[in-house]
Structures are given as C-alpha cells and as structure tokens.
Amino acid sequence: QDTTVIGVSIPAATHGWAGGMNYHAQEAVDRLEEVYPELDFVLATAGDPAEQVSDIEDMVATRNISALVVLPFESEPLTGPVKSVADSGVWVTVVDRGLSEEGIEDLYVAGDNSGFGQVSGEYMAANLEEGAKIVGLRGIPTTIDNMRVEGFEAAIEGSGIEVLEMEHGNWNRDDSFTVMQDFLSKYPEIDAVWASDDDMAVGVLAAIDAAGRDDIQFVLGGAGMKEMIQRTMEGDEMIPANVTYPPAMIATAIEMTAVGMTSSAPVSGTFTIGSVLITPDNAEDYYFPDSPF
Amino acid sequence: MSNIGKGAEKSGPVLSLDAIDRSFGPVQVLFGVSLDMRPGEVHALIGENGAGKSTTMKIMSGYLSPTSGTVSLAGTPHRFRNSQQAEAEGVVLIHQEFNLAEQLTVEENIFLGHELRKGMFLDKARMRSETVSLLERLHCRVDPRARVRDISTPDKQMVEIAKALLRNARVLIMDEPTAVLTSRESEVLFEQIERLKADGVAILFTSHKLDEVKRISDRLTIMRDGRVVHSGPTSEMSEDQMAEGMVGRELSDLFPERATSIGDDVALSVKDLTVPGYAKGVSFDLRKSEILGIAGLIGSGRTEAMEGLVGLRTHSGAVEIDGKSVRISSPRDAQRLGLVYLTEDRKGRGLVLNMGLKENLTLQSLPRFAKPFLNDAEEVEALDKAISDFDIRAPQKRMNAGNLSGGNQQKLLIAKIMLADPRIVIIDEPTRGIDIGTKQQIYDFIHDLAAKGVSIIVISSEMTEVIGLSDRVLVMRQGRIAGEVSGADKSEDAIVRLAMGLEHKIEEASP
C-alpha cells in the first residue's frame, strides 16, 4: 500500500506553552512514524498566520496530504484556507483554537480558553476575602487571551475582589518580571497575582522574591509547567494551585488522526479537553518530569 | 632659478620607475614610463589632463601596482604591496583628491594611523600641541578640533600637507598641491618645500601652473598620452616650451580678445545680499554679455555669497533678473530663472563619483531628457557632444566619473552646468586642475557664451585668470565688497591691495 501523508501545522515555539506543544507534536510524530510504517508526517511550524497558510498550501500542493492536523495561529485567517483543504477531501483535525466557521473539521480537539479563565477566577474567588486586591498578567494580545480574561472576570464578578490592574506580560518570563516589578513599585499592597501562565508566573515570582514583599499570598499561574506542578505538589504556599491547559493536546489530536487514517475506528466529532484545577491533592497526576514544559 | 642641490649630485636616485606600463581593464594609460627622483631635488611632472601623472604618482607610492615594469627604491627593485608599506619606507603621497576622514577632526586626521600614545592611551595633549605648531608652520589658522567636513577646501589641502610633513618622508610626492591654494598659501607651501629639500628629501609634484613649475623645480618631466616625452633640468626650458611640450602644439595667447561688446541691459541686479556668517551687504549689477570677475583672498566669502544667491544657503537681500524682482529659495528656483552655479568642490558637490559620465552630465538638466522616459540615445548624444566641446579625455564612455583624471572631471562638471543652458552662470574656480591647453579652450568657450548673450560671473583665486578673463573685477574682503576694478586698473597689485584691506574704498567691514 502507498504511504499516507499526514500534515501537521502548528505555531512556532515562541513562548513556553507553544514550546511544550511543539515538543509534544514532534514527539508524537516520531512515535507514530515508528508505529505506523504506512504513515508519513510533515510537521511545519509558522511564525504568523500568513506563514501557516503558506505551509498548508505547500502540504497540499507538494506532499499530497490525506489528513491535516492544524492548531490555528488565529482562527479567522485560517478558516478560509483550511476550509478549502477540507473541501478538497482531506481529513481535517483542528486543535485548540476553533475555526470561525462551524462544521469544517472532521475532528476537533478543543482546549477551553474561557474555561481556563473561569477556573482561575473561581479559585481566586474561593481563596481570597472580599476586598482583596489582585493584579493580573495577560498574554500576547490575541483572541485566546481575551477569552481567558473574560472568563476570569466573569468568574470573580461579585466576589468583591478588586483587580488593581492587568498588563500584558506576553507569556514571557522577562516581560512579566518587568511588569511585576513595576506593579510592586506602584501598589504597596497586593494580595494575590493572577499570572495566567506558568512562564509568566516564573517572572512574577522572581520579582516578588527580589522585592522581598510578603503581602502577596499566592500566585496563580496556569498551563501546568512541570516545575510549577512540582512546587504545588510539594506544598509551596506561593503556588497553591494551577490550571491545566495541556500542550499535549496536539499529541492527542495527531494520534487520533493517525488512528482515523489507519483504521475504521470512529474518531470524528469534538473532543474537548477541559481546564482542570490542580491542587496539592491531584498534582501528581499532572506531573510529567520528562516534558520540556 | 634653483640650482640642483648638492646632495643630489653625489647620490643616485632614491626612487625610480623603469619602463612602467599600467592598464585599467582594457585601457592602457601608461606606456613605458621611467622617472628618477633624487634626494634634495624638486622634480616637476607636467602634462595634459589625463596624461597619466596621477597614475604614475600612485604607482610610485604603492597605491597602484604597475602592470609591468619595475619600481626601485635606492637602486634595488622593490615592489610595494600597498601604500602603508611605501609609507613605512618613507614614500608619502598627497593625493590630488583629498584623503581625509570627513567626520574626524583636523587633529585626528593628521595623526590618523600614527597616533602618539602614552602607555595604552592616546597622548592627546602632545598631539594637540604638535598639530598646533605644525599648522602654525603652515600659517594655517584652522581649528585643530574642527571636523574636516566643516573646513574649507584650501584648509583641507593644508591639512593634507600637514599630515605628509608629519610622516617624515624621504620621498614626498604631491599631486597638484597648489590647485586649490591661492598664491599666498602656495608661498607657504614653497617655503616648506625649500626646507624639506635642504633636509635632503626628494620631492615630486605636479601643477598646471607653469610659473610655479619654473620657479621651484630643479628638474622637469613632461608626459603626453601616458608616455614620457621629455625629461631634463627645468632651467633649460621656458614656460612656453613647457606648454608646447605638453600639448604638442604651439599655444597662442591664453586669453582671447574680447570680441563682442557688453550689453546695456542689466541681467542680474543684487542688492544687499547677506549670507549670515559669511557675507554682508553685497550689491552689484551684472549686465548682459558681461564677464564679471570676483576676486578675494581665501575665506573672503565669495563662494558663500554666490551659494546664497542661488538658494543654497540662507540669505536675504533683493535680487532682480532682467529687471524683475525674483525670490530664489532653492537652486531649482534659480535654474528656472536661468541662473546656475558651478561649485568649486567638484568631488563633494559637483559630481557623483560612482555614477557614469552620462548620468553625471545630464543630472542637472534631466527633465529635458525625459519624454516621459529617459532617452538613452539622446543622453549618449549629449555626452558625445560634451566630450568634443570640452575635450574630455575619457578612455571609455561607460566609466564612472570618479575614474576620470582630475582635470577631466572638472571639464565634465563644466559641461554639466552648461548643459542647463543658463542665461546667467556663476563659475567658481572654473579651471581648477585644468591643463594649460584646455584652459585656453575653456576661456574661449566662456567668451563664446558671452557673445551669445550669456552673463557670467567668474570667481577665481588665480589672479591672471580674473584679470585676463573678466571685463570688471569685484574684490571681496571679509564678506563685503571691498571695491571694484575695471579696464586699465585691472592690475594684480590693485586687486591685492583691495583684498588685503590696504586700500579703503568702502568703510571697514566687520566680520
């Protein structure tokens, strides 16, 4: 039998979570190529939506892909191009970010961004008193970030928690370090920080540490970076919890697509990977020491 | 007038060329050139523009390598790998075109590559004091801290000379050092040459000013078309013979007789022209077909006043052209009114050295060749015409302007300005670096222009030129017009007296 080619198109590793996702994609591809000799994979990483569209065009034009696994850089710009791929009869698996038109993809492995924000917000509401002051760090300005923040704000509404300010830390350790330093200069009292991402949490923690401030009760990151999970697991009071947004969802999607291509098992539909609160009680289940993230 | 130095007779040549050929690509420019330089001897190399003088000098000083032939140092064949090596051997060249780092100061340029150090650090104090005393020796009043891009052309030449003096040369080669100097500054240079000569330095220089050659050189080599056509003691030749030797024909009177008469209409009337910092209250009338000379010492503000007039500098004052009051705020405005200015700085402001001849020629009048697209054939035609009109010796038509010899660049610059068909033209130092044969052609050309009704202003530091060429001479001093001489009064003496402020025709100017 001829080999079947599966194209995988994902954003480049420009921040920690994306790095983890890149790792899992690469790892899944290597593993599945061993398992299924009849499958061939093309993995392309893109720095912006236009480049991602180009990658997908190339896969169709020159590699004859039978299936496409795509984690859209952004939903809007990828919708049209992915739709035309789907229309040409190629199996399409969309991961994490849904396309802006429904029903294009055969399989949707979804992350839940507003759920991520909501779980984070609920944790804050449950663990802080009324009148508590928090600051927040946001990611790179994108729809994803907006959805997370909206979910968060909805969840803390009515809890009496005051959000002093939110600023973009761009999912970047250095940027968040700087922003947090300046927050610390500006606000003499902060009760907790919503870092919204573990990379940003690293920067935030370093800034708090350096300033020697002890008014901050905890920092809530997100996405389950292994070092952070470990600290939660060990009962570090500054990092009492985490919220999952597993970068490994790409591996799940690739694997399901591979199964779909090689067997008649029904793999289509929507497969939502919800965001879960990690606390010292369940941290062990989410600790993957071998992952780079 | 000088007799050959005593040391020269004893020793052999310090530096000599033997049967040197040199080609640039397919074009051969030197053919079997041989030349000897002896210690304590001043050797002049003369020839028409493009004869190969600069090329010869560059080969002697390691800037170019010969295609064939040998360079010998103190009698033994020696191949300089580069100019640094030549300099290390005591062979120093002052280029025809300046070799200065424009962003650096005078002092930094003078010591560039030879900085004095105290331990790890630069010894700025000592370099400063040496610079000051060196410049003093040259009677040059430029500030050692001034950036070279800010100083005037003659000052740059003085800096070049200072730089060379500091190198303790055994052999000093100077390519047209006096082209941008007035006679006063040239005198200073000649004093230094005498000193060096007494110290046993071998000196080679070129000049198109044959009186200088006659005066200061001991020996003379004439080149024509890349070949040495004569070599011998200077005392054996008169200036006329030199000119003949260069050009290969007899030269008639340098300045043509004025054929046409000056018109009555005033073509250009300037009142109270002031260029802040440089010129004040300059007023004059220029009549149709008139050739008006402007003389003055270097630094008298002639250039700046005229640059102001054509809108290249901030200025105030009333200007009328053909009786109509006009406002000129850019060279474009001026050109539209038929007024153009030819700069004295051909390298920095006149020509784009890395563009072709054609592109340079048509740059100022380009819209004429756009219909709407540039017509290559017409441009080439214009170039052909310029080459024949101005006797531009270009080995190839498709070469960069920077590869022309200095004098030929000047001719190209004149051609460029003339292509704009001016009705009034201001020519600043028209014949800088131009050989005597071509000078005559250019003077003829200027007369022809006047005959055609063009009014001309000539700024020149060459006394004979202003006097011989113009109908009337304005003399500037410290930014003001110090007086005017015309007709029989047009003597060198009268002009110098006005220029130096020895005679008061106008109240004392304040700088």
């Binding site: 236009a50 569209v53 034009a61 907006n146 | 170019l64 790998r81 070469m399 590869n403």
Partner: protein, 333 residues
Amino acid sequence: MSASDTATPAPARRGLDLHALGPLIALLVLVVVGALMNSNFLSYANITNVLARSAFIGIIAVGMTFVITAGGLDLSVGSMAAFIAGLMILVMNWLLPSMGQGVPIILVGMVAALIAGLGAGFLNGFLITNMRIEAFIVTLGTMGIYRSLVTWLADGGTLSLDFGLRQTYRPVYYDGLLGISWPIIVFAIVAIIGEVIMRKTTFGRYCAALGSNDQVARYSSIDVNRVRIMTYILLGLLVGVATIMYVPRLGSASASTGVLWELEAIAAVIIGGTMLKGGFGRVWGTVVGVLILSLIGNILNLTDFVSPYLNGAIQGIIIILAVILQRGKTAEG
C-alpha cells in the same frame, strides 16, 4: 590586500556581467535543488502558490528598493500593512449596512487602503526629511505605533471582514487571468513599472544620485527633500497595494499580521544587489531576492529535516550562502 584593489572604483562593467547575475544564479540553484527534492516542486499548483504568496513582500520590497536606493530605510512596513489591513476591514464592515454587499464596497475599501498607505508613507517621509530624524528611529517609532494601533483597533484580538464580503473579495487573491492568479499579475505589474521608473525616469535617477551623494544632488538643482519624501510615499502606497492583495487571502488582520515583513523586504532588496547605503538599486534584483526567500521556505516544507526547530538556522545559512554565491563571482565586493 593587494594595492590594486584599493584604487578608486573600477570602471562600470560591460556585456555579460557575472556580478549582476549573482542573485539569478542563486535562484536557479534553489530551483534545481527544489526540483530534485520533490517532483511536485515544479507543479503548476506549487509554483502558483509560491509566486502568489511572494506578492505581498514583493510589492513592498519594490517600494523598499527606492527608499534604500535613495539612502533611506523603513522598518515600519510590516506594522503599516497590519494597520492598513485593519483599517480597511473596519471601513468595509462599517459601510456594509449602508452600501450593501458588492463590488463598490470593495473598491471603497481599496481606495481607503491606498489613502492610508499614502498618508503613512508621507508621515514617515515628512518626519525624516523635514524634522531630520534618522530614518531608523522614525520608522522604528512608527512601527511601534501602527502595531499598537492595530492591536487596539482589534481590541487585542482579530479584526475580521464580514463573511459575506469575504466571499465577494476572495477572488482578488484566489482567481486570476488566464490561469495566473491576481497577486502574481499585480506583483509582475508593480515590478515592471518599478523597474521602468528606476531605470527610465528622472525620479529613479534622482534616487540613485541622492543616495550616492545628496550634496551633489542638491547642487544639481534637485529638490532633495521632495524626492526623498516621494520614495516613502511610494513605499506607503505599495504597502497599501500589498494589503489590498493580502486581505482577501486571510480576511482578517491582527497584531500578528505582517510581523517581520520589514526585515524580509529589506533582506530581499539587499540580496537582489541594491546597496544598503544607497546610491544604487535595481528592482529586478529585488524580485529575484523575494523569490529566493520564498523558495527557501517552500523547499524546507517540501522535505523532512531533522527538526523543524532548525528551519530558522537552515534559512539563515541559505541566505548567507546565496549572498556569498552572488558576491563570490567577482573579485571585488
């Protein structure tokens, strides 16, 4: 360093000029490599894809050629494209209720893009010539400004063209004439006009002159400031044109639109043989430069390399090699 090559610039070369052909040779090598690696490389579909997607950067790079030739630089083009795309989408969405769907609204959007491009180019040019600030600083500043304006317009997210409008507009990217898609046609037209302007008009000649020595240009009665501003306006306009071709492709604009286009455009110009310091430029070289850059990305997608992480490294090496290949042809750089 021998003495001979320290002399004044060599005479202009004639006839078959290997140095000039450098970028073309690099391009050919890439095409051959691509063809050997994948049989579909030379397929109609792939060639169309590569050419069409080169069009945006290509159109911008043509404008950049003029700016650089005249001794300038523009770092803002990528953000400018994002901003114009955002503005165009907003305008069209906003007019939709009153104008309804159809060709006119698209045309209005296009005109808006061109006007915005012109204005943005003028702003850069004005600050650079009249306020006399280094082009690098001005355009670094406007780069930040446009990028952040588009983020703000999109409220941190994505600005999307109305779905119906997108259907109307889509053919501008995806359809074409005689099997050649519009972006390719527009790119070709822009390149040809650019080449003609550069070689055959006073404007092109003036750009080279003032990039070489702006004093000489000024003394030659050239209105130096006007020519310089014009280069930025031309570039702005072309960014507008590129945006017009870009919006139908993705139907949206966001903070990540056009990121790093400026570096790519400048790189294309220089790979094409234009000198970064100004004074000499050629549009056809730029076109070749753009194609080289696009092909590198395309070829990397055609084959499986050790790790996608190393794509950037391979790209970097190929860019340097392409230029070495080009320079290596002549003794003098």
